[in-house]
Amino acid sequence: MNFIRKHAKLIFLFAAAIICGGLFFYLPVQENILALIPQNIKTEVELFQQSPLSKKLIVITEGQTLAQAAAAAQQVKEKLLESGYIKTLNLPEENIISLMLNALPERFSQQDNNLAQAKLSAENLSKQFDIYKQELFSFESMFAAQKIAADPFGLSQILFDKWAVLGKSTQTQYKDGFISDKSGTVLAALYDLKQDTSDLAFAKQIQTFFDNLRPKLPKCSRVFFMGGLRYTLENVSVIKKNLFIVSIAAFMLLGAIFLFFFRTKRALLIYLLPFIVIMPAAFITQIIFGGISGITLAFGSVVAGLSVDYAVYVYFALAAKNKDKQQALKQISKHLWLNFLTSALCFSALIFSSVEVFKQIAVFALTALSLALFAALKIFPQYFNCSKTQKQSDGIKIKNLPFKAAFTFLFILLAFGIWGIYGTVLSKGLDSLNSASAAFARDKQIAEKLFSSDKSALLFALGKTQDEALLNNEVLSQILPEPLAASTIFVSGKTKSENLSRWAEFWNKEQISSAKELLEEQAIKTGFNPAAFDGFFTWLNDTLESKNKANSADFSAFYNPLISLSNGSYAVINIVPDTEFYQRAAQDGKGIFISSNYLQKQLTANVKKEALLVVFLAVLFNFIAVLFMFKSLKKSLFCFLPVICGACLLFALLAFFRIEINLFGLIFLPLLVGLGIDYAIFQLMKYHSAGQNTQALYPQQALLAAGLSTLAGFGVLVLAGHNVLFIMGLCALLGIGGSIFAAVFILPAFLERYL
């Protein structure tokens, strides 16, 4: 009982962390790329996500010959259908002519009117019947007979041609029913999955399916799949591979730091602090945002590093010899509050970003840091309040650099850094957020040759209702040299009504009579039975008397360009050439033009803008804070010295090694500001306390232990192969490393010289 009473606060904190951890695992972790996108290009990205390929399972088969590739592709297709993983495409094979004929009146444009008129000429009909005769002598005659009787004038071909234009707009080649490369030895097929493509368990099932299928395929053929599922598997696989190495490395480094700086059981609490603060922070973030991104959680390691710093400073302050512990705690509290203020302001700057994940990180970090500060000042002191705690590291003495040397270092870093800022390249697109094995990169290259997104773009027509979107698509189509294929097949209510009137006008009594006469004459001439075509005229009359409404064709079952957006509106997708002409036309016609290239440019520009805003606000807030605290412009400016040095080293080395920085590297920048300022504040406090009895509160090893702990926990990510983890680790290693170096070696020389 006494034990519980004595450790009540700590137990309560642990219990809260465990409860929050349990609740956290109960709530979903959401991963939506839109949460990573600046607000003003969110619509474009959301639309781009609706690209016809985005939710498909792309199966690619290779063979040494077309026959091998085709046989393998066919076999895979059959097995996939058997397995039930993909949706069956129920093409109305036997009724396809009826389907097309029934669909025609509502889509009967002026151009179709002219085509139909041509088909009703004696010359065309004669040619048509020659073809019919040949078809009746072929092995497909039993189908030809039905087709000829149902559609003697070949009117259904008008709609077949519209579908052909729609297929052609994808700029892909087809061989044996599969999308093909030029040689025909690489074939691709697109399938609709029955389940969500981002589901990891389902992705594993599909992978097992392909692993089992491979040995059964024809010799010299190979099959693989692409799409969202493959990305999911690759990312998870790469993260798993690296997790072991990274964990071992972090454990060893933290162990080394512990052995070197602490060596007491009580100091172990310092490293338990991250577990106490991260779970409640994650839970609160989940509650506020209705979910939490994996990116925010990954950022937890950064916050863990920061939270450790508070405990480290308290530990060393209380470990100081010959010091009143209460007084020491009071003194260090002021320093920690200032540290907290600077870090909190950095993360607060993220709230002003339009990227949702940035906002999540802000809430997560502010919660975690508040808890860490509370634990460091209110709970841990009773455990650190022991003068025997400080051991091995007592003797660390770091000599300050002479001013000239420090100035030279600073000058070199600044020059190198400015060069680096101009030379650093920001990764374009979202590919840099994924990671891949060599096998994946090779497969991706093969897939990209088949689906070259460089040549085509997506053109969207928006509307509050489905009909409005279809109507706007027609308006957009009218200003283009060639009509948009989707607008000719998927028509608005207004156009439908106009087309039906046109159809009725076309098939006036005179036209029907003339067509009957012509058909009878041609049938008799070529050995056909004129009575066999009575069904066509019965159908025609039904269309004119609106009796075939029930048969009105709905193509959306096998292709639907109409999508619903998250804001409740609708859009029609068109695939168009990626040219400036279509881009301008989209603006004129109030459409949205998105190509891979365009989106990449927009994304890069917007992410840069967001990063600059956040960094600017972080710097501004912190500058005001330190100015308020120190009431000295000179001291306030010195606080930024480690930040500038860290940033210079980071950008210089990124540029030198030609490493492209991605979105996550930019998220790191405000953090670098916060950490760098913390180290500077420590040195300033130490400088101020020189010759006073408070100097012992700021041993150099406290700064080193805090900085190295952050580096050990965070910088080891540089060992990871995953793009996101690697860039976070690299930025930590270079940025924080540079800040620590500047805070320990350069800043003291300047403080001595100018203060």
Partner: protein, 193 residues
């Protein structure tokens, strides 16, 4: 298309079949002894679409082991088709082009059924009646193309059939008459190329 392929394999099966008072199992046993087949045919189409029936002629080759079937028209037009395992090719002017069939899965399954004379599977789709001089297949569910298929074996040589008649729902029918049928002749691989 799939009905057509169904019919083709039905025909191939029938070529192997023996008439008389035999049971279906005995037919299945007999088919195992037939590995290759050669025959010429005359095809008569009695269609309501036409004023008069039309006729065409050609030949067929079948290799059970290679799972290949060549159906070649020679008169009045030169065309046909080739089945290689589960792939179907249209042959026109000496060129072959793969036929894409949305019901590929069904076709492949049908092929296996007919080639192996899997009566258990056939009975799921057809009512099969054996009479003295004919075998009648009637689809259990209404077909748009096939109403009934009747096979007429040769009375003198039960391994050979004389005629196959496919009746369509509208009353149209196609009649194939076979002559010069050879069972297990040597067929060179090249003829299927």
């Amino acid at each position: 298309m799939r009905y057509f392929v169904t019919f083709i394999f039905l025909f191939v099966f029938c070529c192997f079949a023996q008439a008389g008072d035999k049971t279906l199992q005995e037919y299945a046993a007999a088919i195992n002894k037939v590995n290759t087949l050669k025959s010429t045919f005359k095809e008569e189409k009695h269609l309501s679409l036409l004023s008069q029936p039309i006729e065409s002629e050609g030949f067929l080759l079948f290799d059970k082991k290679a799972q290949k079937l060549l159906w070649q028209y020679q008169n009045p037009f030169d065309n046909g088709f080739l089945i290689e395992t589960d792939l179907i090719y249209r042959i026109k002017n000496g060129q072959k082009q793969q036929v894409q069939n949305a019901a590929g899965k069904i076709m492949a399954a049908q092929m296996l059924i007919w080639l192996t004379l899997d009566f258990d599977s056939l009975k799921q789709n057809y009512a099969i009646t054996l009479k003295q001089n004919e075998i009648v297949f009637i689809p259990l569910k209404p077909h748009k193309v096939i109403k009934q298929i009747t096979v007429y074996p040769d009375e003198n040589n039960p391994q050979i059939i004389k005629q196959v008649k496919m009746l369509q729902p509208g009353g149209d029918f196609i009649l194939w008459s076979f002559t010069g049928t050879q069972i297990n002749p040597e067929i060179k691989k090249e003829v299927f190329e």
